[in-house]
Symmetry: C2
Subunit: 142 residues, 2 copies
């Protein structure tokens, strides 16, 4: 089986429920098609302008939500196809990223954005490949 | 079996890993003792001074983390025992709340705090009991 491509990334608009004292923001349910199991959840802070790139997971499916701030995600697959998605407060959607796709992201909100990943396996450095920022010819200038 | 009491709430200090471009904040792993299964994850915003109270879950175990802001949680059990816990950026810890305990919380950070709940069952209004704020004689004044 070949790796999945950037067309296999799912974008799911998430509900924001108006509640007195502070809204409730949906993220993920066990009954969602994009839920592949629970391995670990963690937050990543993303400073304005900072770029975190590149990583590729061999086994992990990521479910990404950004309740604070805004970031641009860039995905590159084995066929060289590139896909960009911006999520955050103004576009509150979940990105489901299957294994096998290179990705990086950039904070585009000052001072800091907050990313949640609900991953189907726990963090395991042996299933993560990394490349230097310069190894893909992508222009991150804003 | 009687309901669990406020002494059965677990506070777990969480790691914050220093990363260039933005730190990584641990939340929950499937291997953690406090992980009771994945039903649903959602965020709750908490405005400064707002009080969200009172609720009691009949079946849900909550795993609560607060990466932005600060909130005071108040728990009351069947025996009338009261327990207070403050979590947030300055005390980045996870609260694991078993079913059967009344709770409420108050934002104590301006303008807004962000709470994550990783619950072991999906939201189900039939398993939530509610009481008006005034039904417990707790003084929320700061």
């Amino acid at each position: 089986m070949g790796n999945l491509g950037v067309a296999d990334i799912t974008v799911t608009q998430l509900r924001r429920v108006s509640v007195s004292g502070g809204d409730v923001l949906h993220i993920l349910k066990e009954s969602d098609l994009e839920f592949m199991g629970f391995g670990e959840a963690y937050f990543s802070l993303v400073e304005f302008n900072a770029v975190k790139a590149w990583k590729r997971h061999m086994r992990m499916t990521l479910n990404l939500a950004m309740p604070v701030g805004r970031a641009k995600f860039v995905f590159i697959d084995d066929g060289g196809a590139i896909r960009e998605e911006v999520i955050g407060e103004n576009r509150y959607a979940r990105l489901t990223v299957p294994p096998g796709i290179w990705f990086g992201f950039q904070g585009i909100y000052s001072p800091t954005s907050l990313l949640l990943n609900i991953a189907d396996i726990p963090h395991d450095p042996k299933e993560v490949e990394r490349r230097e920022l310069s190894e893909f010819a992508y222009n991150w200038e804003m």
